[in-house]
Symmetry: C2
Subunit: 268 residues, 2 copies
């Protein structure tokens, strides 16, 4: 299984920020990325629906013989990780919430820690639980920021409009003076500059991408599954037409994706 | 079939603006409304995926014996109406694009006419075709306004943020000085005030809800299917959990929906 790809599942394009961190940290590995673009976004949907979608999507990756599953979508990690780990007990399934919580606790060991995320992630409370599992005394503040998702997908990541939306969501949170802010949705790193500006100085911004890549490396090393040769490859699967995915991916991956390298599949 | 309900299909909650106009114009009729909340939004998805979803959803309404189908979703009307009319040839299928185009041509017989809509509706060009079918000489301007959808669903329908987003999308269109602006997405009537302000005076804003209700009345009268007695009823079907639908529906229906009156169904 060493030469098998690492499977990465996301609701759409945002998880490409996680793919990017993984490819940088593990340049010898191959990756198979699946974006459920026909059913995105997950952030406004119920935990039951997100779990059902996530298990269907992960099954498509497992069928193609991946050696490890990364759940890049924060909402799916927050509400569907137990269902995924139960459904695919034969391979490691790593979500982004625990690595993100770990990064936050390291950045602000005494808190307070602020978490911004989708409606679904905030409602589920998984970040607060993961932070409290590591440091029960830390005060955790949460805020859903749903408009950040379409803003990032439209490429409106700076300028007056992005700044106004960031101020709208973060005004109250800024007053609580957190030491660290978790970017608890894969879309939010694209808006890092306006979020930092709205929060003011002295707030460490962390996202899950880098710490998730570290967790994946640790897991592969400990199980002897780290790849030791061969040509790495990155392939993309999507559930809607490839063109919009290829176009919007540039915002999150930092490089364009060739629409010809994107294969449409049907999960239903 | 006179006593059968009128089926209304939408991608989610926005179509409730069409239900509202229908219930006002046809107070003796019963309505069965289906919102495909597990797969919304449709506006960023491909024509193929939207057509597939629309036919699945309409089949669920037809199975419950509706006498007429209203496609309240502009995107589905714009890209899937021929597929729906072919799949359900036994009952009238009425979309919102033709009635909206008719209202626009009546409001501005010499143009120019501006159309704001989702990415999918703009890309498909159905409004321009429907306007030109009625008045080939009219200049048609189009602009996709994707952020209006989540803004409306969050209830951010007035205030500085909504005004800033409206200015962002409409600044160029205002310079073209259209005589009429079509609100080509069911979410947009909720933002009517900020849209009117961004366009300036002298621009007639039209949406499809009232003219679609007139088209439905005309169709029922001509086929003798107008209901002539009995207690009217409104029922709701959704594909995701009912709670968010019931909460957000108030913005579009103008009245709260009891979550108990909303039945979850599975289309897949």
């Amino acid at each position: 299984m060493k030469d098998a790809a690492i499977g990465i599942f996301d609701s759409g394009v945002g998880g490409l920020t996680v793919l990017r961190a993984l490819a940088e940290r593990l340049p010898g590995e191959s990756f198979l990325y699946l974006g459920d673009t026909a059913r995105l976004p997950y952030g406004t949907k119920s935990a039951e629906t997100v779990s059902r979608y996530a298990v269907q999507a992960a099954a498509a990756l497992v069928k193609r013989r991946v050696k490890l599953l990364v759940i890049a979508c924060n909402t799916a990690s927050a509400v569907a990780l137990p269902a995924l780990q139960a459904a695919f007990a034969d391979i490691p399934v790593i979500g982004v919430v625990a690595p993100g919580a770990q990064a936050a606790v390291e950045a602000a060991p005494d808190g307070p820690i602020a978490v911004i995320a989708t409606e679904g992630t905030v409602r589920g409370g998984a970040y607060a639980r993961a932070i409290h599992a590591r440091a029960p005394h830390i005060e955790v503040l949460q805020q859903a920021c749903p408009l950040f998702v379409p803003l990032a997908e439209e490429g409106l990541t700076d300028g007056d409009l992005a700044a106004a939306v960031a101020r709208h969501y973060l005004e109250q949170m800024r007053k609580a003076a957190p030491k660290c802010l978790v970017l608890g949705c894969t879309h939010f790193p694209a808006l890092k500059a306006v979020i930092a500006s709205a929060m003011g100085p002295g707030v460490a911004l962390v996202d899950s991408a880098a710490t998730t890549a570290m967790a994946v490396e640790r897991q592969l090393k400990s199980s002897g599954a780290l790849r030791d040769g061969g040509a790495p490859a990155i392939q993309f699967l999507v559930t809607d037409a490839p063109d919009r995915f290829a176009r919007v991916s540039r915002i999150f991956l930092g490089a364009p994706v060739d629409p010809g390298a994107v294969e449409p599949i049907d999960l239903q």
